[in-house]
């Protein structure tokens, strides 16, 4: 199979997985606190359009990502106010957030369609980057790829080994008990939701400024939903989510290179792969009710009413 640049394929799989990692890790934290935010797709899109706009007008990638994070957080704030203060149904509100995010991002981004942006340059890691094979594969990515892995590690450490992480897990397990013990349930959930929003915003900004540096309406094409599925696939554990994201990255990229690999399948069916894979992966994980019972935060999706 000559002529196929496997290095390039895997490298682009890693890049493709990066927005999934950011969004999924962010949502994982929110869900561990017991909040189901289905608006990830919407938050990613507003992050994408804000990141693109900010990056284009300022020329600075740092500002682009900051803008993306803030946009995601703004939408997440809206979600938090509705579900945590006003006690609205989390599923319905999350769907509303997605629809709203799709519309808002399309509206805000209309003057940026077709505009070009220079993508984030890859890092030049000394020594390691020049290793044969491994070098270009692992050590020649842009900064955010490494930050995504760092975010995963930080989240895993936070949840397992810090007191704050323990308190967050307790809230997700049983907000009523946590409240009786004096934990500020809503405040912890607010922070978790805002973190999720920021991460989704960064994920979207990465897509529009680095992965495919452009803005198109609805450019996330369901990645936000795949990120949500990844949280389930990873049974709410950060490292597993990371692994799942890379798996998906490979699936996503393979479909693009399949033609080059001599696969004789119509392109539309290849494009279906990531979505079919999501379904298959969910079926596998959810089949055994014990898996969900033991791993899913017990209070996920339920509103918490303090008092009496």
């Amino acid at each position: 199979m000559s002529g196929i640049d496997w290095i390039a394929i895997i490298a682009s799989a890693i890049a493709a997985a990066t927005p999934l990692i950011f969004a999924a890790i962010g949502e994982l934290v929110a869900e561990r606190a017991g909040v189901l935010n289905l608006g990830v797709e919407g938050m990613m899109l507003v992050g994408a359009v804000s990141g693109f706009a900010a990056g284009y007008t300022s020329g600075s990638m740092a500002i682009a990502f900051a803008a993306g994070a803030l946009a995601g957080m703004a939408l997440a704030l809206l979600f938090a106010v509705l579900t945590l203060n006003l006690q609205t149904n989390q599923v319905a509100t999350g769907l509303a957030l997605t629809l709203f995010g799709v519309g808002l991002s399309a509206f805000a981004g209309r003057s940026f369609v077709g505009v070009a942006l220079t993508r984030l340059p890859p890092l030049d890691i000394p020594v390691l980057g020049t290793l044969p094979l491994v070098g270009p594969l692992l050590f020649h990515h842009d900064l955010l790829v490494y930050l995504s892995i760092g975010a995963c590690a930080a989240t895993a450490w936070f949840l397992k080994s810090t007191r704050a992480g323990l308190r967050l897990r307790a809230v997700g397990e049983s907000p009523a008990v946590a409240h009786a013990l004096g934990e500020p349930v809503n405040r912890i959930r607010y922070l978790a939701v805002l973190f999720g929003g920021a991460m989704s915003g960064i994920a979207g900004a990465y897509m529009s400024t680095s992965l495919t540096p452009m803005w198109v309406e609805g450019m996330t094409s369901g990645r936000g939903w795949i990120a949500l599925a990844l949280v389930v696939f990873g049974t709410w554990k950060p490292w597993r989510v990371l692994g799942g994201a890379y798996l998906f990255g490979i699936v996503t990229v393979l479909q693009l290179y399949a033609q080059g690999l001599g696969v004789q399948v119509p392109s539309e069916f290849l494009s279906m792969l990531p979505y079919v894979a999501t379904i298959v992966v969910l079926v596998i994980i959810c089949r055994d009710p014990k898996t969900i019972l033991l791993n899913q935060p017990a209070s996920l999706g339920q509103s918490f009413h303090p008092g009496r």
Binding site: Y275, T278, V283
Partner: protein
């Protein structure tokens, strides 16, 4: 009971849900949306009053306009009726857009390829195929949920993308009209199966009558039948439903098939109606807008009828604003999302009440 404190006002739970607010919450949400829309248009430098006229008044001053209103309300109503029945049972079908697509594909397939053999039966067969196609697509999440505990939210949504890709494949490939100059669309449907306009000078067809009839049917189903009661209980208290012996599996299947069948019917009505041919884009997001319609209609058939008209008006207003004011198409989506948010917030007032914090309150 401890109440949530919010600014200088406090939210107090009501002893009993407020009846007036149940009815008023949607109109109030619509009003809030309009106010926000007004502000947004002003912010964009438009003459807001004129824009509002273009958006909300002009499209409906002609007979054609009213016809369009009813025409666009039809798929929304059909999809929302099916979805609402499911949402009341806590079955979250969000793949109506995909079921719509499959219904259109199945129905068109019958019309295009079996039209010769079936003759005068083609029309009813086409409609039946539409319903069954939507149901079949909805059966997948139902099956995966009942057999493998997989969330219907994800499965039904992923199937939307898959359905759209499948449609694209068909109209670019095997179903493409050979005489169509390489346009990605199928042969036009035969005149004998097309839905004809009901009123001269408009495009509205019998679909609206079917939708209204089904709305009545759904009303009866929800309030008077045992099956409707069972669905409702399984949504309100799954443990109580199990205690009563109501089958949870049965509820999931019923909810998904109702949603899928209605969406499939909407799909084939759209193709056999205003579009007349199978093409890559057959819906401006009706399946998703129907979710909003279901909620704004408070999951009740009467409310859904009214909410469909409102949403249809938003679509038409958006089109008219695109042409006359050069506003982007996405402004419609923005209004729709805002409306849903306001509605969710307004629902709050059914169960809570605002009180000013008095001095000396703990």
């Amino acid at each position: 009971m401890r109440s949530a404190v919010f600014w200088p006002l406090r939210l107090e739970p009501r002893a009993r849900p407020s009846r007036p607010m149940r009815v008023l919450s949607s109109p109030l949400a619509a009003l809030a949306m309009l106010l926000v829309g007004f502000a947004v248009l002003k912010f964009l430098g438009q003459d807001a009053v004129a824009a509002f006229r273009v958006f909300f008044v002009e499209p409906f001053t002609s007979l054609y306009g009213v016809g369009e209103l009813l025409l666009k309300a039809t798929p929304l109503m059909l999809c929302a009726l099916g979805l609402a029945a499911g949402y009341r049972a806590n079955v979250w079908n969000i793949g109506a857009e995909g079921q719509f697509t499959l219904g259109a594909i199945a129905g068109s397939g019958v019309a295009l390829f079996l039209g010769g053999e079936l003759g005068s039966l083609t029309f009813p067969a086409m409609l039946l195929a539409g319903v069954l196609g939507g149901m079949a697509w909805a059966a997948i999440p139902a099956l995966l949920r009942t057999l493998f505990n997989t969330s219907e939210i994800f499965v039904s949504l992923m199937l939307v993308y898959i359905a759209q890709l499948f449609l694209s494949f068909l109209v670019h490939g095997p179903w493409r009209d050979p005489a169509g100059q390489n346009f990605p669309q199928s042969k036009a449907l035969d005149d004998s199966v097309l839905l004809q306009p009901l009123i001269e000078g408009t495009r509205v067809n019998a679909g609206i009558l079917v939708a209204l009839g089904l709305a009545l049917l759904f009303w009866w189903f929800g309030s008077a039948t045992a099956a409707g009661f069972r669905l409702r209980v399984s949504g309100l208290s799954p443990l109580a439903a199990r205690y009563a012996g109501f089958s949870q599996r049965g509820s999931i299947w019923l909810a998904m098939l109702l949603g899928g069948g209605m969406a499939g019917l909407a799909g084939i009505f759209e193709v056999a109606g205003p579009i007349g041919v199978l093409q890559p884009v057959i819906s401006p997001g009706y399946g998703f807008a129907a979710i909003i319609v279901a909620f704004v209609g408070r999951l009740h058939p009467l409310g859904i009828v009214l909410a469909s008209l409102l949403m249809s008006a938003l679509y038409l207003g958006g089109e008219s604003a695109q042409i006359e004011l050069q506003l982007p198409a996405s402004v419609t989506g923005l209004f729709q999302g805002t409306l849903l948010f306001f509605l969710l917030a307004a629902e709050l007032f059914i169960h809570f009440r605002l009180r000013r914090v008095r001095q000396g309150d703990p």
